[in-house]
Symmetry: C2
Subunit: 250 residues, 2 copies
DNA sequence: CATGTTGGAATCGTATAGGATTCATCAAAG
DNA sequence: CTTTGATGAATCCTATACGATTCCAACATG
């Protein structure tokens, strides 16, 4: 006879984007190797861990599958995708080579005062951060790298290019390879050499920051409105990365 | 002690890809204008209509949102995205201009006997279909167009390019615009002119099939292994489409 | 006429039960 | 001892009911 049911969860102040939050959390778990490549993803376990029901988990996993970060096998369940093979990595960089130089070119053509400000801020704050060696240098660099390339894709003014770049999740894949290396999970020799190439992309001779130098060139060209130089410098930036990988493996 | 369970052969033969099926069905509903642009998408109604529970619907909608075909507003629900604006359309074609000529070039470089066979088959069967005027000509043409461009993206050998092209859903957007026109849903004048340009992409002077002619040039170049010609013809194919739209609007 | 309140409708998230399938273990036969 | 088949547990997938929150619109009041 009691109309009020006790024991109902109190959870209030819900912003109601729970499935979005869940998406971000699971994605972060993948990046941070809490979900290792190829391993199974258990829905029940996740719902316990994230303290949510299955529905948001399923929605998040569906989106992640669409992103190519999670694989769904019809009657077996979900699992994280494997690390990129060399071929896939090469393919990914080839794709970046198609769209990013164009994006840089467009960014130079369309650059505004506000755009210059943001671009300058990104470069300056990164250099400042790198001066104080206390933090994980590689982490700072890759995070800057992700922000930088995303920013340029946005400055291109093309939603298609921006979202296509976003969906490559290239920095996520890079970071996952980096984590695999740190955790000594890469036994294959050629793969190990490949990851060494990954480091070389960011460090030059173990001292300077190669990426920052190349990024500066791109950034300056865009701010100067020099579209040809912007395209060329972005092209050589990606090209040289790709070449470094290729030579370190082959 | 009968080990054989009776009544098992009930609903077997379940391929258990119900959420995938649902995804396809909803997508088809969007293309076919059963779900009109901008309108709300009710989960309960869909589950009734498709005779399934809410869970597969939710997963499908999450994927469709990731595809940009469905929009999710936090506490209001799902709705179909609007028709492409002129700017978005221009942007989309600009993106195709970035990746498809490259795809055609690569296809010409990598073409195999099997690839030639498939490409020839696509062209021949389409021409044959168009000879018998009984069917909806526009429908046949757009379906061929979708298959043709997808095929070339596959022949490029780049998974990144293939999936990036796939995710543009460009033919879905085209067909939706076409449907909007047929249903007299486009009142705006410039929008109407725009759709007229859409028709011109496929029909030349109301008689010949422009797309088929241009496709033949591309197809021949690929089969001949002439990568330069393949790139050039694909570029001009997309470029001229884009130009036709621009002039018909401006 | 404008504004605040209140009620219903719709949607989101939760919880739970049960059918279906896969995987691994184990027993039996050759 | 090896191979084959069956049994049971774990997991996935579906279905359904319910509570909580928010939006929308009608209504009353100053």
């Amino acid at each position: 006879m009691n109309p009020i049911k006790p024991g109902v969860a109190k959870s209030s102040a819900r912003t109601s984007v729970l499935s979005d939050e869940t998406y971000g959390k699971i994605k972060e778990m993948i990046v941070k190797y809490e979900i290792s490549p190829g391993s199974r993803v258990n829905i029940d376990a996740l719902s316990l861990q994230l303290k949510t029901s299955q529905t948001p988990i399923r929605e998040a996993l569906a989106r992640l599958e669409s992103d190519g970060l999670i694989k769904k096998e019809p009657l077996k369940g979900y699992s994280a995708t494997n690390l990129l093979t060399l071929e896939e990595f090469h393919d990914l960089f080839q794709f970046r080579l198609l769209i990013e130089p164009w994006a840089a070119e467009q960014a130079a053509k369309r650059i505004t005062t506000e755009g210059k400000r943001i671009l300058n801020l990104e470069m300056k704050s990164t250099m400042k951060t790198l001066k104080q060696k206390s933090v994980d240098e590689f982490k700072s660099l890759t995070e800057h790298d992700a922000r930088f390339h995303k920013l340029i894709s946005q400055l291109s003014g093309s939603k298609s290019v921006e979202s296509a770049f976003e969906r490559t999740h290239c920095h996520l894949h890079l970071f996952r390879l980096y984590m695999a290396h740190r955790l000594h999970l890469i036994e294959n020799n050629s793969r190990a050499k490949f990851v060494e190439g990954l480091f070389e992309q960011y460090y030059q001779n173990g001292s300077g920051q190669l990426a920052i130098i190349e990024h500066s060139a791109i950034s300056n060209a865009i701010i100067d409105g020099d579209s040809k130089a912007a395209r060329a410098s972005m092209h050589s930036h990606i090209q040289s990365s790709l070449k470094r990988f290729s030579t370190s493996v082959e």
